[in-house]
């Protein structure tokens, strides 16, 4: 295929997106499709004690272990049960570890999708991220960057998950300057239980009066 013509600024156009479709899992979440996982897969364990025990720990797994459970709701109020979610987050020190190693305790990147019996609920096992510096020098509140792919989503959606028990940090997060105040709470996940592993629930609404904020950058 020849490269497309350069545009007026002398740039080649980016390859256009197309929907990931209903069978995205066969490519990106094999277990959900019913396929046997390969030797290494990008899974929903972004940080895990198990990997740490297998060596290469070096403290990458440090931080508070948490579980994220989420749902994506469409404009009809139906749960999008064929969603694929990708997550990218900083470590407990607020540092993005870009060198992905499947055998490390902290991987920073993960993928999740609801299984057949999960009623559209997906989950991530991770640690609470630290605070990442905004270019203006202020620390951002802890957050996880999420990308959504599915049938009917023609170009993936970017959002961020913040934590309701980080209220003070959230109020001071420079990112929220870009978000209309009335919509800020669409980015907040809610802590459901205390225990060995706190769980946060995050509801993403694709449409409607409480439509989640999606970002362009």
């Amino acid at each position: 295929m020849p490269l497309p013509t350069r545009n007026s600024q002398g740039l080649y156009p980016e390859t256009p997106s197309q929907t990931a479709g209903p069978f995205v899992h066969i490519g990106l979440a094999l277990d959900v499709a019913g396929l046997t996982p390969r030797e290494q897969e990008i899974g929903s364990n972004i940080a895990s004690a198990e990997a740490e025990a297998e060596g290469e720990g070096e403290g990458e797994g440090e931080g508070e272990p948490i579980e994220i459970v989420g749902t994506v709701i469409d404009g009809n109020g139906d749960t999008v049960d064929d969603i694929l979610v990708e997550a990218w987050q900083a470590d407990a020190h607020g540092v993005y570890q870009t060198d992905y190693r499947a055998d490390r305790a902290f991987r920073g990147f993960g993928r999740t999708a609801p299984g057949a019996n999960d009623a559209g609920v997906w989950s991530l096992h991770t640690i609470k991220p630290g605070r990442v510096a905004h270019p203006n020098g202020q620390p951002m509140a802890p957050h996880i960057n999420l990308m959504l792919f599915a049938r009917g989503i023609n170009i993936h959606l970017h959002t961020r998950l913040y934590f309701d028990d980080e209220h003070e940090a959230n109020m001071a997060c420079p990112l929220f300057d870009a978000v209309p105040p009335s919509r800020r709470d669409t980015l907040i996940a809610h802590r459901e239980q205390d225990g060995a592993k706190p769980r946060y629930r995050f509801v993403i609404r694709l449409q409607g009066p409480r439509e989640t904020v999606f970002f362009d950058f």
């Binding site: 069978f23 499709a33 993005y96």
Partner: protein, 245 residues
């Protein structure tokens, strides 16, 4: 290959990408945001970094869909269908190679059936075909797969909607800003202009960039035909901040 958070990217031209709300593609109606995207005037490390899979351990047959569903059993179990090499380069908008990036593909078999629990199309599964592959681009941005040509398949949209033959393609790029999932179509397929998903793109030139070209020079005589599909990710703008070092 990941990069540091001092490099920003050429803005995404959303009028070139598919329309999120495209009523002829029915599922998009309830799944497309109705509010404008919130533009981050100042991208942060969160947007400008991403996972680097250069050290991800891939299996020997991960990019060979002819063999990877039953690796090592070539003698008794090859998939049915037109044998193809699908290859190309991943470059950015300045034509710079995107090296060491993860490229993943998935597709239906020659009959148009996915090996997915939820695919109930009457075409049979192929016992020798899984339909999933992945690879990492080399230093010059090249990637390469061996596979079979997927079949078209019907889908519930209009009464008689058929997808053109296509391979789903996922590219990570150097940061989550460059993340891209798309579909590769095949030159000359008469179903391309009939497809509501293709028509989520307004510009015929955009469709053209998703159409892989038959490449006889790369074909293997008496073995495989070849299709070339180059992928362009967002251009990296150098030194977003002054480099202090």
């Amino acid at each position: 290959m990941a990069q540091n958070d001092r490099t920003a990217f050429v803005m995404r031209d959303r009028s070139w990408h598919p329309r999120p709300y495209a009523p002829a593609y029915k599922t998009s109606v309830a799944r497309s945001p109705q509010q404008a995207l919130v533009s981050l005037q100042t991208p942060t490390a969160s947007e400008l970094t991403g996972p680097d899979f250069d050290h991800f351990a891939l299996g020997l047959y991960d990019n060979d869909l002819l063999l990877n569903f039953r690796p090592g059993t070539e003698q008794d179990g090859l998939p049915i269908g037109e044998r193809l090499i699908v290859y190309g380069r991943v470059v950015d908008q300045y034509n710079k190679p995107v090296a060491g990036t993860l490229v993943e593909i998935w597709q239906a078999n020659a009959g148009g059936r996915y090996r997915h629990k939820k695919d109930a199309y009457r075409a049979p599964l192929d016992p020798n075909f899984g339909g999933v592959g992945r690879t990492i681009t080399d230093a010059d941005g090249w990637y390469r797969f061996r596979t079979i040509k997927p079949g078209p398949y019907p889908w519930p949209n209009d009464v008689n909607s058929w997808r053109p033959a296509h391979i789903h393609v996922s590219v990570m790029g150097p940061s989550i800003s460059t993340r891209l999932v798309t579909q590769l179509y095949f030159e000359g397929d008469p179903l391309i202009p009939l497809c509501p998903i293709v028509h989520t793109l307004d510009d015929p030139d955009a469709v053209d960039t998703l159409t892989a070209r038959l490449d006889m020079a790369a074909a293997r005589p008496m073995d495989c035909l070849a299709y070339r599909f180059d992928i362009v990710t967002r251009g990296a703008l150098q030194t977003y901040f002054e480099n202090q070092s």
